[in-house]
């Protein structure tokens, strides 16, 4: 099961409002071929991996991709 850390992975400084850019970034993450899509695939395909290394890698990268 997953635990949520109430912090960002990296510090972020936002100084201007750019809705067009924001929409593009969100599309990159949640749209077709986005990180979210890939992350869900990793997390569901790890169950059929033949080696422990593969199970671990898919679990860990899937976890990293999951939280925006």
């Amino acid at each position: 099961m997953w635990i949520y850390e109430k912090k960002l992975e990296y510090p972020v400084k936002v100084d201007s409002c750019n809705p067009t850019l924001a929409a593009m970034i969100l599309e990159q993450f949640g749209g077709p071929d986005g990180e979210l899509s890939a992350g869900i695939r990793y997390l569901t395909q790890r169950w059929t991996m033949p080696t422990n290394q593969a199970k671990a890698i898919l679990t860990d990268i899937g976890t990293e991709e999951l939280v925006p």
Binding site: I3, Y4, E5, K6, K7, L8, E9, Y10, P11, V14, C17, Q53, A56, I57, D60, I61, E64
Partner: protein, 100 residues
């Protein structure tokens, strides 16, 4: 100033966590690399200590039983990670400025 201090403590955690995540991923495919494993354990210890120090002063970073809370329930408190001076409403309910 309190906000700077909180950000500094958080930055240390972010740095340690980045290193730990990378070592974790490396070890997933190189489980017998002794030096990497030693580094991972050393940084993990540092990270755990840094988090405990941070939480003692600024409240929990995790919930669902992973960290304790003072009274009243701290988990709900601002700032949430996506809040900053731009997203703060007029009533200051996102309390970046709230602590002490």
């Amino acid at each position: 100033m309190d906000i700077m201090h909180r950000e500094q403590c958080l930055r240390k955690i972010q740095e340690l966590e980045f290193a730990v995540i990378e070592l974790n991923l490396y070890l997933d495919t190189h489980p017998t690399h002794q030096q990497a494993l030693m580094d991972y354990n050393k940084l993990t210890q540092e990270l755990m200590n840094a988090k405990i120090m941070y939480e003692r002063q600024f409240g929990p970073l995790t919930n669902f039983g992973y960290a304790p809370s003072q009274y009243p329930w701290q988990w709900i408190e601002s700032p949430w990670p996506w809040e900053n001076e731009h997203t703060c409403k007029e009533d200051m309910s996102c309390g970046s400025m709230k602590r002490n």
